[in-house]
Every structure is written in structure tokens, then in C-alpha cells.
């Protein structure tokens, strides 16, 4: 019997604060949420290796602000070739600005200057700025010292990676958001046998999700074993 092809609809993994597993980063989560309310810090810088949840937090912040009817913006600087420094103009009129992967524009004079000016305009007009990068501000390789010192002015957090228990929790939560039930033993099985960084685990979940739909089977250890 030919296997059933699942519909070409992919449920998006909406990043929100409620589906964020903080692990040891509870204070970071608290500070970011606080930033979106008045009286919190205006500038927050988050750093750490990929897969530690920086992008999730920035997307979640955008989500949170927009359900209040306000306008946020998220800039993936890793795709700077599709963007341009002109894109920073007028962002101080919005209600939240999030910049991801700031290390990608390090050494680019036009981008660095544009970010510096944006920072100054934000400081005058008030909306919060969340920035994420892969290293602490001084080690990003930025050439404009004015920009480095401004990024260091706010609260700086190093995001800690999740431990295996928290990763299991994150994996199960992600599965549940997609309408798949991943039993505890299956999650533990995956963590014992596959790479244990979250991007790889989530990617695996994508494939498992698709395969289980196609085979019309639940996620069980025998199914997963066969799949792997």
C-alpha cells in the first residue's frame, strides 16, 4: 500500500514566551519581559552560542508586543545582504526593535554607523532595543568603539545552554505545539541517540513529524528506531 502523503501544510512553530523553556536562563526571560513593560531596561544584549534560544526570545518579544496592538520589528542581520543600513531609518517610531546576529555586520562601516545612530535615536525617543550576538560586546569584532560601548551600557546576559532534562522538555513542548504527542521515553530515546543541540533535535522532530503523518503512526520507540 502506498503511504499517504501529508498535506503540504506546515504548522509554524510560533515562538512565544509560553513555549520558551528557560532552563537556567530564567532571569534573562524575566528581564526581557520586563523590558517590554514601562519601567524595565531599555537596552538588553544577549549572547551565547547558536541553539541557546536567543532568536526564540526575540521572536517571542515581537509576538508579545504585537498582541498589544503595537508594532515591533525583527532584523535578521545574518541576512544582511538582503537588507541594507537604510532599513534602520525611522525604526525609532516603532514600539520595539530586535536585532539578531549582530556579529554578522561587524567590520561593515556603513552598518555599524547606522546602528550607532539608531541607538542614539532610540535613546531619545524611548522604545526598547533587544540585540543578540554570538559573543560578548567587546569580542564581536565591531570597529566602531562608540557602538561597542553603547551595547555594553544596557544589561548584558550570557545565555546558558539547556541541560538534557530541559532539552527533553523543550522537545516535548515543541512536539505538543505541533499537535504531536511525544512520550517521555521517546524524547529520552532521541536524546540518547542523536546530536543533542536543539536546532538538530528540532530538525529531527520535523522529519519525524512528517514521517509519522505519512505512516499514520504515533511516535513510539519502535517507530523512531525504525526511522533512525
Amino acid at each position: 500500500m502506498p503511504c499517504q502523503l501529508p498535506l503540504g501544510i506546515v504548522l509554524r512553530d510560533n515562538a512565544t514566551f509560553s513555549n520558551y523553556v528557560p532552563g537556567q536562563n530564567e532571569e534573562v526571560l524575566h528581564t526581557v519581559q520586563q523590558t517590554l513593560r514601562s519601567g524595565g531596561e531599555q537596552f538588553v544584549y544577549l549572547w551565547g552560542t547558536a541553539g541557546n534560544g536567543k532568536t526564540h526570545l526575540l521572536h517571542a518579544a515581537c509576538h508579545e508586543v504585537s498582541i498589544r496592538g503595537l508594532s515591533p520589528v525583527y532584523l535578521p542581520l545574518a541576512q544582511r545582504h538582503e537588507l541594507a543600513p537604510q532599513m534602520l531609518e525611522g525604526l525609532e517610531q516603532l514600539d520595539l526593535v530586535c536585532l539578531d546576529d549582530i556579529q554578522c555586520i561587524a567590520g561593515d562601516e556603513a552598518w555599524e554607523a547606522a546602528l550607532f545612530h539608531l541607538y542614539n535615536r532610540l535613546r531619545e525617543s524611548g522604545p526598547p532595543l533587544l540585540v543578540a550576538g554570538d559573543a560578548i560586546t567587546g569580542a564581536l569584532g565591531l570597529r566602531l568603539p562608540d557602538l561597542v560601548s553603547r551595547l555594553s551600557w544596557g544589561v548584558v546576559y550570557h545565555l546558558q545552554p539547556l541541560d538534557d532534562d530541559a532539552k527533553r522538555q523543550a522537545l516535548q513542548l515543541r512536539a505538543r505545539c505541533r499537535g504531536v504527542e511525544m512520550p517521555e521515553d521517546v524524547a529520552a530515546y532521541l536524546l540518547r541517540r542523536s546530536p543533542r543541540d536543539l536546532p538538530a533535535l528540532f530538525e529531527l522532530l520535523d522529519r519525524l513529524d512528517y514521517a509519522s503523518l505519512a505512516a499514520q503512526r504515533k511516535l513510539t520507540i519502535p517507530f523512531v528506531r525504525q526511522f533512525l
Binding site: 552560542t49 516603532l94 560601548s149 543533542r196
Partner: protein
């Protein structure tokens, strides 16, 4: 009505686009109703062009569908929401009215928090501080222009605002304008576009004091330099005060016209140096008072010793300690501050590899790396092997089968057994705990 329509359209788009596309291009758009039609406001030309090119057709289709086959006119423009514009206009109007009644001084972007009282003096900024104070007491006459230079985050902007605030205190109807040189350039470009150069000139030449920050950003912008040169001369002729800051000595700024550089030196040029330890401590103590937290002196010394480069980083470090203490409800002590600032002192996430772990552990126990791969089961080799397995699991994201492979082709259950054993011994054996602690330090710093 329009808002509800747009909300539905956004929900549909959210399902169709990636989170990144949605947050980058759709969420920054602000919707408003204009004569029954739908007006989408983009923050800048770049966003507008991209939305038009990539998403407008789909937005039209969705609105048509959601609105039961009626397509209102959809316009896409650059601009800010009416809500913000109204707020801003109100402020401006109030400012103007009050100014006329002399109830409130003309506040050209001055930050009222930056005063001489809140500026911490030290050897590094003594001269700049004294000169600024004289200029504040006697604008246009003491030193004109006053040129303050020094590295980032040392208090140039603070001093400049302090002068402005002092001028206003002595003469509440004085017109003092503070702006960043970039803003001067932008305003000029706008004035040229809108053919309002006369207003532009009149505005900047009518002030009692013009405070202009970071003039190194004039570099290479010839037309702005030219205009600034004329403004500058007009102000000096009229005995109106000019204060400038720069990140270096005027003669060293590249891309700045010679006649400007020489003219900047007509008044007084003073430097600000990085603050010495005592000043850094005093800055922290003052900042703590401002934040209404109690900061023990030994903690202030600890932070000030660690963070030496500039005042912004110093303040950032203090913010971090305060945030940490408020979150955990713990008072700020030396041990607490050390822990909280660990991240700020480490520079980068150190990439730990299995290979590196094996090498470090073998060296620590004075055995060979090959022993870790071998089948030997004597305690002197088996224990270090388990410890290396434990660190490989905790500090890398390799899968357990991969880790097993790296230890001479062992099964993943062996790795799990090793990790369990180490966790047990850490509780029962003090020396084991100490070894783990030492190794962790070597591996992660």
C-alpha cells in the same frame, strides 16, 4: 473596521510566512483608516519597497477575500502612526506655548539628568569639568568654542548637557539646543529636500548655545561641513556659545576640512581621560544612589577593578548586578557580584571538544590519551575515562553514540553508566568533587 480587517489579514499572513519574514516585514507595518480606505504605514523607504514588491499582491488578495469580495483602496506610505504624531505634536505645541509664557524653558533635547551635580569629578576630567563650569556660568564669553575630546563613554556628552542645564538655570528663557552631528546632517538634508534651508539656518543661528556631539561624524560630509562652518562663524560673531565633542583631538579627525579644524581650536580644547580607580568607584556609588540600591564599597571596588575601559561598561556591569539581585531577591555582596559578573568577564563561549576534554583529563591524571580509548579496566584508568565521558556529555552536544565512538567504540549505555557513576561519586567522594571542579575550570576558562 480597518484595524480588524488588517488583524485578520495579519493572522493569515502569519500562517503563510516564516516567523522571520513576518516579524521583519509585516509586523512593523502600522494600519490606519483614511476616508474609509486602508493606509499601511512603513517605517522607511526600504521596508516600503520590499513590502510592495514581495507582499502587496498577497495582502490585496487576502483583504479581498476577508472583506467578502470588496477591495478597499490600499495605500502604502512611509510614516508614523497618528497616535505617535499626535503625542509629539502635543508636546511641541505645549513646549511652544509654555515657552511663550515663560513657564518652561526651551528644551532643545537637553537631558535634565545630566548636571554638574551628577557628574563625578576626578583627576581624569578635572580640566574639562572646570572649563565647562565656567562656560556654563558665562556662556559666549568664557571660552568659545569649547571643544571637549576623549574616548567613548568617558562623560563628554554628560558635561555638555551639564553646561546647557546650567545656562538654563541661570537664564530660563535661553535657547539651548543639543544635537548629535548626525542629526544636524539629517536635518540639513531634509531642509534641502523641502526647500526650507532659510528656516534651518535661522533656527541654528538664533540659539544662545549650540551643543553639538561627536563631530567626527561630519567627516567626509562636505556640504554639511560647509553649512556648519557658516553656522559656527555666525554664532561666534554673535557671542553665542558653541560646544563640541569629538572622539579625538580636532587636528586628528580625518575627512574634516582644515579651516574647520583650525577654527575649532580658537577657544579652549580640553581632553577627558579614562577615569582612575577611585573615580570609577565614586561613579558606581553615585549611580547606585540614583538606582536606589545599596552598594557596599568592596563590591564597588571589585567592579571598578574589573571594568576599566569606560563609564558605560561600568554602568552596564552595575545594572547587571542590580538586575540579578532584584530577580533573586538577594542583597548585593562581594560573592554575589563575582558570580553575577562572571559572564561579563569571560569573553566568548569556549568551544569544548571531546578531543580537548580527553587531552585535559589525561594530563590532569597523568595518563595517556590512548589509555582512555583502551579496554584497560584498572581503576587508575577507568575513573578518568568515566570523568572524560561525563564532561563530553555535559559540555558538548555530541550524541551519546558519537561520544561512545570517541572512547574506543564503546556503546552509548557505557557512557550513561559512566556519567551516573561520576554523579554518585561527586556526592560521596570529596576528592572526586574537587577534581571535577578543577577540570571544569580548566575546560571552560
Amino acid at each position: 473596521m480597518v484595524a480588524a480587517l488588517w488583524k485578520k489579514c495579519q493572522d493569515r499572513l502569519e500562517g503563510e510566512l516564516t516567523a522571520q519574514q513576518f516579524n521583519t516585514w509585516i509586523r512593523p507595518l502600522h494600519v490606519e483608516e483614511r476616508d474609509g480606505n486602508l493606509l499601511l504605514l512603513a517605517p522607511n523607504q526600504f521596508v516600503l519597497d520590499r513590502v510592495k514588491e514581495r507582499f502587496m499582491d498577497r495582502i490585496g488578495e487576502l483583504i479581498f477575500e476577508i472583506n467578502n469580495g470588496n477591495l478597499p483602496d490600499i495605500q502604502l506610505k512611509i510614516g508614523e502612526s497618528t497616535r505617535k504624531r499626535t503625542k509629539q505634536a502635543d508636546n511641541e505645541k505645549r513646549g511652544r506655548l509654555l515657552h511663550r509664557d515663560n513657564q518652561l524653558p526651551f528644551r532643545g533635547n537637553l537631558n535634565p539628568d545630566f548636571t554638574f551635580a551628577s557628574f563625578v569629578q576626578g583627576k581624569s576630567n578635572q580640566l574639562a569639568h572646570a572649563a565647562s563650569q565656567q562656560v556654563g556660568e558665562n556662556p559666549g564669553r568664557a571660552y568659545n568654542p569649547l571643544f571637549i575630546y576623549g574616548g567613548v563613554g568617558l562623560g563628554k556628552t554628560h558635561l555638555m548637557h551639564a553646561v546647557g542645564n546650567l545656562i538654563l538655570k541661570n537664564k530660563p528663557d535661553a535657547r539651548v539646543i543639543y544635537l548629535h552631528s548626525e542629526r544636524f546632517v539629517q536635518d540639513m538634508v531634509k531642509a534641502l529636500q523641502h526647500r526650507t534651508m532659510d528656516d534651518f539656518k535661522r533656527l541654528y543661528r538664533s540659539v544662545d548655545a549650540l551643543l553639538i556631539d561627536d563631530i567626527q561624524f561630519f567627516a567626509g560630509k562636505e556640504q554639511s561641513q560647509e553649512e556648519f562652518f557658516h553656522t559656527f562663524n555666525a554664532l561666534l560673531d554673535g557671542q553665542q556659545q558653541v560646544i563640541m565633542t569629538c572622539d579625538r583631538y580636532p587636528k586628528e579627525v580625518k575627512g574634516l576640512e582644515e579651516r574647520l579644524k583650525s577654527r575649532f581650536g580658537w577657544g579652549l580644547t580640553v581632553a577627558i581621560e579614562p577615569p582612575e580607580l577611585e573615580t570609577r568607584v565614586a561613579i558606581l556609588m553615585q549611580k547606585a544612589v540614583h538606582l536606589q540600591v545599596s552598594l557596599p564599597q568592596d563590591v564597588a571596588f571589585f567592579i571598578a577593578k574589573r571594568i576599566r575601559s569606560n563609564v558605560r561598561e561600568l554602568e552596564g556591569a552595575l545594572r547587571r548586578v542590580v538586575a540579578n539581585s532584584q530577580f533573586t531577591g538577594t542583597p548585593i555582596t562581594l560573592a554575589f557580584a563575582k558570580e553575577a559578573l562572571k559572564d561579563l568577564i569571560a569573553l566568548q563561549d569556549k568551544q569544548v571538544t571531546i578531543e580537548n576534554i580527553q587531552k585535559t583529563v589525561a594530563e590532569y591524571y597523568k595518563i595517556r590519551v590512548s589509555d582512555l580509548h583502551s579496554k584497560k579496566r584498572s581503576r587508575s584508568v577507568a575513573r578518568p575515562r568515566q570523568i572524560a565521558m561525563y564532561f563530553s556529555k555535559e559540555l558538548t552536544s555530541h550524541s551519546l553514540p558519537e561520544i561512545g565512538e570517541a572512547f574506543g567504540g564503546r556503546d552509548h549505555t557505557t557512557i550513561l553508566h559512566g556519567c551516573r557513576k561520576v554523579n554518585e561519586l561527586r556526592v560521596s567522594d570529596v576528592r572526586m568533587e574537587e577534581d571535577i571542579h578543577n577540570l571544569l575550570r580548566i575546560l571552560t576558562t
